[in-house]
Amino acid sequence: MYEDMVTARLYEERLQEEYMEGKRPGFDISAGEVPGELHLAAGQEAAAVGVCHHLRDDDTVTAPHRPHHVAIAKGVDLKRMTAEIFGRETGLCHGKGGHMHLFDPDVNFACSGIIAQGCPPAVGAGMAAKKRNTDSVAVAYLGEGAIDQGGFLESLNMASVHDLPVVFVIEDNDWAISMPKERVTSPQDGSARADGFDMHGVRVDSDDARAVYEAGAEAVGRARDGNGPTVLEVQVHRRMGHFMGDPETYRPEEDQERAAERDSIERLAADMREFGIDDEELEEIRDRAAERVDEAVTWAKQQPLPEPEAAHDHVFTNPPSGVTDEEPEFSDAGAAAGGDD
């Protein structure tokens, strides 16, 4: 769990650096190595690993537009995810999706750039599991800014009324872009939404990965045992802006300082030291994570960009006549990564 959290943090820090390459001086969003917007999740790792560490590959996770930490915790292929973020042909989505739209069917991970819209598909995955009589579960991640969306509220009702194995994980980082929670959401305890839908709701009011782990065990266990859905809200802290380039002029300095102070990774490390794990072991874990991140980024940057014509492929699985859908040629590296076979 600690290793995944550290990996996620180092990954975000590395992406931050890579993203700014070529975008200076000034900040030009359409220049540089990494295309498009980039939403980083440093400070939110506890919510990802505390729940995902109870999941199997056959369990489904839907993540929002800030997905990397959840993807890492769910076991998404880090190299191909990175290649996707760099817009490469051998990326998870062949360069079509990008960082907000990562799909890894091998571990049943998907995400969407539209707020709360991962909730209904998670309900669908839960429904499929129930109909097929399997014990797999579905977890939908969303931010606290998304809990006012119809898509979330309608999903709670569906999950509850059909008693589906779904866990809704709200990552409460206090900010919906520039909108502080207290000005746009009532009531502010997202887990209390569960009460209105006759389902379990629990809030972990700290960045404590161990507490999330325990709450996650209960919620995932409940779903897996056929005892219905849960809303699990976790207080996290957004250490960065909403997106890279966000000037954050709306955000008081105290809030940024608080986010920097309350670090779930340091907190977990302190706990581990208490359990007798020494600094050397922690450092080893960190080195392993750093190496993994470096390998993924190095590999991704060596991958080819897609051919422009590849834009026309993949509109349909079964293209109607007259629509081309030729698979792009894959390099050896892609095939080695299990790219397209």
Binding site: E89, Q149, S178, M179, P308
Partner: protein
């Protein structure tokens, strides 16, 4: 005011400044005008669509809303039906699906269904367009989608001058107006705009009537009809073509509903050739509409025709593919050359 008259006013402004100037002026003149949307108050609009309005008008009239498009766009419909003049911003046009019932079935249809006993004097502002690699859920223009269903007026400015005049008109109009501004034209710090949209803008208020296209460049050989960002790409193409001895006329539609078919027809009668350029999907869109309008009215005037639009694929993330599907100046020039042959 004609293009010549515009040149005589000394002061230039970005498209976002011009838009905001019109909004502020209408808010000063009429207490019933207010603005609501996500991140429009403290942030000033992600795309600078409301910069400075909070300082002058306060939170009652410049309202940050929850990420609940159904609720706040529907609330704008309700407030408009109650006689106020709300402006409601949908941050990205791509998010329309979350609230489509309020847009298509309420905002657009209530006037008609009520036998005009109710009117809906609201403006729906929304950011459109790609060119910055943000993938399929944040890069669409959807001009055709909004112009297709009846009941809404649809405005697409391409310059600061037009943006201001059209915004004055939009706020004063008694019908719902969809005001679609292209991110790439706004003059945002982190997304450099081409030179074209920053134009002279008079300080006093003025209106530009809906349904009046603007001939942005006069020419005798080929008529190029377009809108939004692609006005500037067409003008760039026209400069290239001028060196080759091809004199292209560039028409900026400015509004899609109502649509100035007459200006297009007159131009085609003069040039004989028509190229329609659109950043929206090709099928069932602006290109087909313009060409069929000319063909229906005066088939004999039409010697040659081409359309340049996004092929029917979602906007891909990776740069080579996005560049391939969004028409560039060279694609426009190529189409003009081909009708000239």
């Amino acid at each position: 005011m004609s293009s010549q008259e515009q040149q005589q006013t000394g002061r230039t402004a970005t498209m976002s400044d011009a838009m905001v100037e019109a909004i502020a002026s209408e808010m000063r003149a009429d207490e019933e005008v207010f603005y609501m949307g996500e991140d429009v108050a403290d942030y000033g609009g992600i795309f600078d669509s409301t910069t400075g309005l909070l300082d002058e008008f306060g939170r009652d009239r410049v309202m940050d809303v929850p990420i609940s498009e159904t609720a706040y766009l529907g609330a704008a419909v309700g407030a408009a039906q109650a006689g106020m003049r709300p402006i409601a911003e949908l941050m990205f046009v791509d998010f329309f699906g979350v609230a489509m019932d309020q847009i298509y079935n309420q905002m657009a249809k209530n006037t008609y269904m009520s036998g005009a006993s109710v009117s809906v004097p609201m403006v729906l502002t929304t950011a459109v367009g790609g060119t910055y690699n943000d993938a399929a859920q944040h890069s669409q223009t959807l001009y055709g989608t909004f112009a297709h269903l009846p009941g809404m007026k649809v405005v697409v400015p391409s310059t600061a001058y037009d943006a201001k005049g059209l915004m004055h008109n939009a706020i004063r109009d008694d019908d719902p107006v969809v005001y679609m501004f292209h991110k790439r034209l706004m003059g945002i710090g982190w997304m450099p705009a081409p030179d074209g949209p920053k134009t002279p803008v008079p300080e006093e208020e003025y209106t530009i009537p809906f349904g009046k296209a603007d001939v942005k460049r006069e020419g005798d050989d080929v008529t190029v009809v377009t809108l939004g960002l692609h006005v500037h790409r067409a003008l760039e193409a026209a400069e290239t073509l001028a060196h080759e001895g091809i004199d292209a006329e560039v028409i900026d539609l400015r509004t899609l509903k109502p649509l100035d078919r007459e200006t297009v027809l007159e131009s085609v009668r003069k040039t004989g050739s028509l190229v329609v350029v659109d950043e929206d999907y090709q099928s069932y869109g602006v290109t087909g509409e313009i060409i069929s309008s000319v063909a229906e009215s005066d088939l004999d005037a039409l010697e040659a025709v081409e359309r340049v639009a996004v092929p029917d694929v979602p906007i891909p993330y990776s740069r080579p593919m996005e560049d391939a599907v969004i028409p560039g100046a060279e694609d426009v020039a190529e189409a003009v050359r081909s009708v000239g042959e």
